[in-house]
Amino acid sequence: MATFRQQLAKEPAIAAEGSGVQKTALAVKLQAENLNFYYGKFQALHGISLSIVTYKITAFIGPSGCGKSTFLRTMNRMNETVRNTRVEGKLLLDGQDLREMDVTFVRRRVGMVFQKSNPFPKTIFDNVAYGLRVNGVRSRPVIEAAVERSLRRAALWDEVKDKLRKPASALSGGQQQRLCIARALAVEPEVLLLDEPCSALDPIATLKIEELLFQIKDITTIVIVTHNMQQAARLADYTGFFLMGKLIEFDDTRKIFQNPSKKETEDYVTGRFG
């Protein structure tokens, strides 16, 4: 069965942009250069520069309001839906300026999972199929295969395979969040952004999500914003620490938590503030 990405590869316009990256070590997937972001007159991000490495998990930590979610939302241009906002600087996806691409195309390549699970008022199946249909996939067998594959990757298949026609609202909170992950995975994004995906979940549901993120890092680059420092330490290959709209430090996760170079980082990860 052709996967969605192969399906898309038949359309030359999309394939030309989508097939750039090989699975090589330390290839840069996303790169920010001197990025500033404004809500009206308020500057929320100050000169952020960093590189997100392909097929690794990158975590952003920092106190509330430090700009980590704002930065995450610039990476799929979600902030554009908020009125009166402005971005300066460069944001490159596979070396191409993300802000010059078609926005729906950017969002297909860079998927997102939100803090609060937001299943659509549709069946479980239709939730997962939504992204495919939006992106023009009509073939029933292709959609069915993609739905099953995505639900398996999101570790939800066994729990829902007998009730795909039930409304998504009937699932538990943790299941809903995994459904949202499956929905995002269905369009086979190259990057998956997660904005505090576990903050509303209990420890067991959180553990399931962390396990599945480990499983899917082979197929997609993951960027996760979290308030939970243990989660960052457990999950991430790289960690960035944000404070007051600035990226204070960005390094190997172990370095950030065991031997940070900045005083602010040390204060935060040792729990002295925030």
Binding site: N118, F120, V134, A170
Partner: protein
């Protein structure tokens, strides 16, 4: 002294409570009083023939309002086809696209339109449809009632679309959906029970309108053919019968009033059941 104050407060409390209780009972009573009164006066005419026959020629007793019931349904269908799409799409614009200042202006104008007396809307429909066509018609009545439905359709659409959490929109757009697609495949379906019931309440509201139909749909003693002929409707039939000299027709007017009220209540109750079911499934 303390005792006096507390006693005064207790008395005031009892008086206010009983006053509001009496007024509540009055409010509830009015509906049942109207229903009962209509039934009392119209009972003699209320029978199967009344619902299935057309009016008898003047001078004869008996006959029914079947043509008026069908006519009201026809005119209301036309009104829905005109008022709901226009109101819905304008409501979508208002809720999803317009900026703050412009939204304020739209809302203001829509509220003004809602306040336009129904007879004036009737005149507008007369000028727009009846004059150019040269005769009264079901279409003209539908246009008049359709215009009357627009303001409420706009505001209900806005209200129910706004009640859909923004996280739904973001979820759809994050998958690459365009704004329009997000609205029509995620936001509107999320609000569907509210939208449908809002439109039904809107329909029930104009179902009893008489003034705009007087010189648009006019009325008809017989079955109306097609959409471009004068057509009987329940409110206008009630009006005509009520001012007619015959006692039999007065009774029929009461009975027709009962039928109309019953239909409107039916629509209302159905709409509220849809709302209740919708919010129950949303909470789940």
């Amino acid at each position: 002294m303390d005792l006096g104050v507390s006693r005064r407060r207790k008395i005031v409390n009892v008086v206010m409570l009983s006053l509001s209780g009496v007024c509540t009972a009055l409010v509830m009573g009015v509906l049942f009083f109207i229903l009962g009164y209509l039934f009392w006066h119209g009972a003699k005419s209320l029978n199967w023939n009344f619902l299935t026959q057309v009016p008898k020629p003047s001078g004869q007793t008996g006959g029914g309002v079947a043509n008026a019931i069908a006519g009201s349904a026809k005119v209301l269908l036309l009104a829905t086809c005109i008022g709901v799409p226009i109101g819905f799409l304008a409501g979508v614009y208002l809720a999803e696209y317009s900026g703050k200042t412009f939204a304020f202006t739209i809302r203001y104008v829509v509220d003004l339109l809602n306040g336009v007396p129904s007879i004036v809307i009737g005149i507008v429909a007369y000028a727009l449809v009846v004059r150019p066509m040269g005769h009264y018609s079901a279409l003209a009545g539908g246009v008049a009632l359709g215009i009357m439905m627009i303001p409420i359709a706009v505001r209900t659409t806005e209200e129910f679309l706004r009640s859909v959490p923004n996280s739904m929109r973001e979820g759809a757009m994050a998958l690459g959906a365009t704004r329009a697609r997000t609205i029509f495949t995620v936001v509107a379906p999320a609000a569907i029970s509210g939208l449908i019931s809002g439109m039904m309440l809107n329909l029930a509201r104009v179902a009893g309108e008489t003034a705009p139909l007087l010189f648009t749909a006019l009325g008809n003693m017989f079955w109306s053919r097609g959409w471009l002929q004068p057509i009987a409707t329940l409110p206008v039939t009630i009006y005509n019968y009520a001012i007619a000299p015959e006692e039999d027709l007065h009774q029929q007017a009461w009975a027709a009033g009962f039928v109309l009220l019953f239909l409107v209540l039916g629509i209302n109750v159905t709409a509220r059941m849809i709302i209740a079911r919708g919010s129950a499934s949303a909470r789940r």
